[in-house]
Symmetry: C2
Subunit: 196 residues, 2 copies
């Protein structure tokens, strides 16, 4: 089995080797690793350096917090994410702190931070599977998220499971090759749609 990216051009390993497993093992993530993942998020760029990202983090050893984060994921995601050593919610601040104006880049900039987090995880042999399928209003209630902030994503973080230990449906997803559009389909050099 290979999940190697079918590269058109060479890229760094933290990008090339990253993929989103459905099968996680319960092996813990060390505090050092977890803090470095969040540190990578910390140094992402953001519009006006607003840093609109917040992460609500739960490790399996804190059962109450873990179950609270798990309960905010969409039910189909809970089924596989409940095996991960760490669960997080990615939360955005919708307004600029200094003047209360809407931050048009908030969702985008959470993506910048979470991509850094994933690159750091990949380099450390860890895996991240992000989810848009969460319940933001439940998260608001469970974690007392104030007005102006909103949970946007879930993140499962941990070690991969041995595929042989997974139910067939998850194993098949984890064994499927990674697929992407060709560069010619998303990199344009003239009008929109004209390949570079």
């Amino acid at each position: 089995m290979s999940k190697e990216a079918d590269l058109e051009y060479p890229v760094i390993n933290p990008v090339a080797d990253r993929w989103s497993p459905y099968g996680f093992s319960e092996e813990p993530v060390s505090t050092d690793d977890l803090r470095s993942l969040l540190e990578a998020a910390r140094w992402a760029p953001s519009s006006y350096n607003e840093q609109p990202w917040r992460y609500i983090v739960a490790t399996r050893s804190n059962t109450q917090q873990y179950d609270a984060v798990l309960s905010c994921l969409a039910e189909p995601n809970q089924q596989w994410a409940k095996a991960a050593a760490v669960l997080m919610l990615g939360v955005i601040s919708r307004q600029f702190e200094k003047n209360g104006k809407p931050n048009k880049a908030a969702e985008h900039d959470l993506g910048l931070a979470s991509a850094n987090l994933s690159a750091e995880a990949t380099q450390r042999g860890l895996f991240v599977h992000q989810m848009i399928g969460i319940d933001p209003e439940k998260a608001r209630e469970v974690f007392a998220i104030p007005e102006g902030y909103e949970a946007l994503t879930g993140l499962a973080v941990g070690h991969r499971a041995n595929p042989d230990t997974l139910p067939d449906a998850l194993r098949e997803r984890d064994e499927a090759p990674r697929q992407r559009k060709a560069q010619s389909e998303f990199v344009f050099g003239g009008k929109f749609g004209e390949a570079l």
Copy 2:
């Protein structure tokens, strides 16, 4: 002068060494480098593997395309971005291709892709400065961006300028230390706002 990140925890160089200069030199970016930056974007994760990102790319050697992208940036950004060897617009697809339903993750997932692009650039000694300050309607007109797609960001890509060659205002911005919130301000381990 040092722009070294003041790290609380160690992170990989493509994250630690990345920052967004205002001063770009006109030194070209090789085609190999440019294609690898876009390849890194290509392998980002996305909701349902939709890959909602598109990039409109212009190198300085193609004056017409370069000036067209430049004209879509907000005026204050044009002032410094016009020195960069490569300009891009980051465009999102707002609906899923297969069923036309809204993609709630589109902006976020463009962020994931552009962070990968920036990490690859950093590893190659190149710099990226992203902008939310663009004119999406002008971009729609200039590049014939169809309904359902929307330009969200601009990206200046290239080599740094020697700071001594920059006007004072830009040099001061590029020499200022990089600052971030502490992890305790955005990493929560209980309710929202409670540090992990």
